[in-house]
């Protein structure tokens, strides 16, 4: 390794991959963000799904609890 090797590497790297001067955002991303927020607010998590499935299995296995459950609702 010769002195200045690292500097040469840095120089050829900058020539090969020039800096992104003036890379500006071309549009407002808020509509995309809004869509993302809406999608997620309606999303049902895996925990909610597993609770729904567990409740369904429980009701099928013990149908006699349904009247009591309806009464309490």
């Amino acid at each position: 390794m010769k002195p200045g090797d690292d500097e040469r590497i840095e120089k050829i790297l900058r020539e090969a991959i020039p800096p992104l001067t003036g890379a500006e955002l071309q549009r407002d991303l808020w509509p995309l963000m809004q869509r993302r927020l809406e999608e997620r607010s309606f999303a049902v998590s895996w925990l909610d799904w597993s609770l729904i499935v567990a409740s369904f299995i429980w009701l099928v296995a013990f149908p006699e609890v349904i009247p009591a459950l309806v009464y309490h609702l």
């Binding site: 050829i12 790297l13 090969a16 991959i17 800096p19 993302r36």
Partner: protein, 172 residues
């Protein structure tokens, strides 16, 4: 300060105001790392999504710009890791034949290829420091590491890049 306090409490209007104020800045930071405008747009939205979810952890007395930049850096780094891993799987057999092929290729393309093969945590430091010439302090803050670690990673990135180029038959 009032806006930041409202955001920390989960106010959507405050979040929108911060989004409008910082989206360009976050996009610029991310595009410097990933170097693709379409991907940078997607990752900007992903960054703000994470910001929105983490609103209760934000301290309104601290800088929103620094906090959001750190989240953006993590999002960009996650993307680099994903792409790096996918490339690793796809190009694993290709690296063996690369030296001969590169002899015919453009040196610039070979440098870009070698650079893209750097481990993501070295690549992000090399991109921001060597190419974009961001200060060590700013890079360290964005990555949550000290200035000395930034310098070490930059040094390791240059060494590794030279090794990769040498293996490709390029002696700068």
């Amino acid at each position: 300060m009032e806006l930041l306090r409202r955001f920390a409490e989960g106010d959507l209007d405050a979040f929108e105001a911060l989004f409008q104020q910082f989206q360009k800045q976050i996009y610029r930071w991310i595009v410097q790392i990933v170097r693709d405008s379409g991907i940078a747009e997607d990752l900007t939205v992903e960054t703000f999504w994470r910001i929105y979810r983490a609103h209760s952890r934000f301290n309104p007395e601290r800088s929103f710009a620094a906090w959001s930049r750190r989240i953006a850096t993590n999002v960009a780094l996650d993307w680099l890791r994903r792409v790096h891993h996918e490339k690793d799987l796809a190009e694993h057999s290709m690296t063996e034949v690369l030296p001969d092929a590169v002899a015919q290729q453009d040196i610039r393309a070979a440098i870009v290829c070698a650079f893209n093969q750097l481990p993501p945590k070295l690549r992000v430091v090399a991109t921001l420091s060597l190419i974009e010439e961001e200060s060590y302090g700013v890079i360290g803050e964005a990555l949550g590491i000290g200035v000395a670690t930034v310098k070490t990673r930059r040094f390791r990135a240059v060494r590794l890049l030279r090794k990769k180029l040498k293996r490709m038959g390029i002696e700068p």
